[in-house]
């Protein structure tokens, strides 16, 4: 069964600090997706990682993928209040002929001024 786990589930950090969110998954997928959700709003795509060693960066966020370890990280550099949101990773794969797209439980990030 495909499982996607994120940690931490909650993260409160000071502005200017660095931190990393981890996403572990149980299947052999080479594709991993990161989304952001602001309170009361829907999800929007941040990154799509399509191969082992892939790294994508946008502003203060950088995502990487290690398919051998089945691990993706979302690194936050010098956090600012605007980054406060819930971050989800998701993995898709074919399991027993069935297409699956599974989200992690999300990491709720709060950046304190």
């Amino acid at each position: 069964e495909l499982k996607v786990e994120q940690n931490p589930l909650f993260l409160s950090m000071q502005e200017g600090k660095n931190y990393t969110i981890y996403c572990n998954y149980s299947t052999t997928s080479d594709r991993l997706y990161w989304y952001r959700q602001d309170p009361g709003k829907s999800l929007e795509s941040l990154f799509v990682l399509l191969s082992n060693g892939a790294v994508k960066q946008e502003g203060r966020l950088m995502a990487s993928l290690d398919t051998k370890a089945r691990l993706s990280t979302l690194h936050i550099t010098a956090a600012v209040h605007d980054l406060s949101a819930t971050y989800f990773c998701a993995v898709d794969s074919l399991e027993s002929g069935t297409y699956k797209y599974i989200f992690g439980t999300g990491t709720r990030l709060k950046v304190l001024a």
Partner: protein, 113 residues
């Protein structure tokens, strides 16, 4: 610009009522998805469709059905609403290739009394 719309942002229904949630996308996407989002459980896939009149069960299809009569429209039906179906419902669409991100609608917050 990519657009996924959902028929209602907020909905209040009574136990036993039949509920229709509609989703429309204007991107000519083949794949469409219905999720529910609950605190602590992340997003869970209810049903998805990869073509007109085609549907596949997701992880939690019980108590729900779907309809896809036209490519741009994907409806979620609660045959007889129950209180445990109170949730945020999110619709998404994606192009046919598996390694693509999903585009989400704004969500419908459903309360079943």
């Amino acid at each position: 610009d990519v657009k996924v719309t959902q028929s209602s942002r907020y909905l209040v229904k009574r136990t036993g009522e039949k509920v229709f949630l509609e989703c429309v996308q204007d991107m000519d996407h083949e794949n469409m998805f219905w999720y529910r989002q609950d605190p602590g459980l992340g997003l869970r896939l209810i049903y998805f469709s990869y073509d007109v009149k085609m549907k596949e069960k997701g992880d939690i299809p019980e108590g729900y059905s779907v309809s896809r009569e036209k490519k741009e429209r994907f409806s979620l039906i609660l045959e007889s609403a129950s209180t445990n179906q109170t949730s945020m419902y999110l619709c998404a669409s994606s192009p046919p290739l598996q390694w693509k991100t999903q585009y989400f609608g704004p969500g419908t917050r459903l309360l079943v009394l």
